[in-house]
Subunit: 245 residues, 2 copies
Amino acid sequence: MSENKNTKPSLHTVLTPQLLDLYEIKDSVVVIIDVFRATSTIATALYNGATKVIPVDSPALCIEVGKQTGGITAGERDGKIIPGLSYGNSPSEYPRSFIENKTLVITTTNGTKLLHMALKQGAKNIITGSFPNFSKVVEFLKSQNAPVILGCSGWKNRFNIEDVLFAGAIIEQVKAHFEIHCDSSFMANQLYMQQKDHLTDYIKTVTHWHRLAAYGLEEDMLYCISRDTAPSLPIFKEDALINQS
Amino acid sequence: MSENKNTKPSLHTVLTPQLLDLYEIKDSVVVIIDVFRATSTIATALYNGATKVIPVDSPALCIEVGKQTGGITAGERDGKIIPGLSYGNSPSEYPRSFIENKTLVITTTNGTKLLHMALKQGAKNIITGSFPNFSKVVEFLKSQNAPVILGCSGWKNRFNIEDVLFAGAIIEQVKAHFEIHCDSSFMANQLYMQQKDHLTDYIKTVTHWHRLAAYGLEEDMLYCISRDTAPSLPIFKEDALINQS
């Protein structure tokens, strides 16, 4: 073998869960990205001492798993706590004084779907990524020497800019360590580089901002684009995300 | 009704055929985009006087329809003419001296799939778009007063930058006429605005450029990003694309 042979692992960005089946997931590190707000809230709860976070894809399952584990049940629809659950999806609801040493069972449709797909397809590791735990994700990806899939949760399978911006920010930090031959990754990185110096203004133009701002969630969203405010590394082990950092 | 009521039709960008089912296609104008090279070749053949272009999704069907219609059969795999067909996918193969008054039966996987999906879902009109017939597409979309779907063909259902750049260029010209609440469209437009002044250099960085450059098709691709060199309007009627301009 020539020593010039490129042995860097690959990196791909998956723009929505509906495209995941086009990529080789087996033995990859998969980063689940749901900036507004699931993965930002997960990073925050774990950073603040939650024992674990169990992501589930329906309110019924959330209630059931909450009973089994004695965990806090959380989930929102249309900006309100779902009937039968106890808390919402806001990272601000999970300070250390409340969540430390507790289990959080959180309902999230887009991100949980992606996580279960990645699990089924034999991912090597599944972590969650958000701006609040940005640098932890970067460190982890650099340390793994494995192919990476940046999985954007989107919204109802549609493409969402905020998730792709996060992917682009990650790519900017790790690209020297990977072989990238993926238009989605190029686009994500270019969009991030174009907008990074005015992210706060830019984020107010995307569709999800408008959807959540209608519920008065502007402050939540500004937190969700703040970097390294909750430096945890949520990694999926057995049935839950735990903090590996 | 208030005269302030917004009555502009919607515009959405579909990043790959695999996402088309997320959008409302019925009664929309659908633009099939396959910059490298199917829709560029279709625009060119029709501009140069082809009677019609019949897009088919397999070589076998291409041969069959070629026999039925007496048309020219065309299609490539890996940069070479497919055995059993007579010509390739290059726009340069279809000058007026050759194609005038003839029927072209062309094999194109990604674009044809999208076209048939749009047809099945009851699109109002289906046209094909490419830089060579850019302004004709803009004019048509402005004239229709109907919702628009910019359908990117991509490559094997993956996202392709060159198709999205074309969508972004179209959006730049028509956005005042539509209500746009679509992150894919925002992203497409931003990427185009970022790259438009150095499109020739930029296009050489995308994955499809590398794939086709390996077959010596650089000149073809530069033609495919040249604006208004083949000002036709390919519109699907009955079973074929004809020039409506």
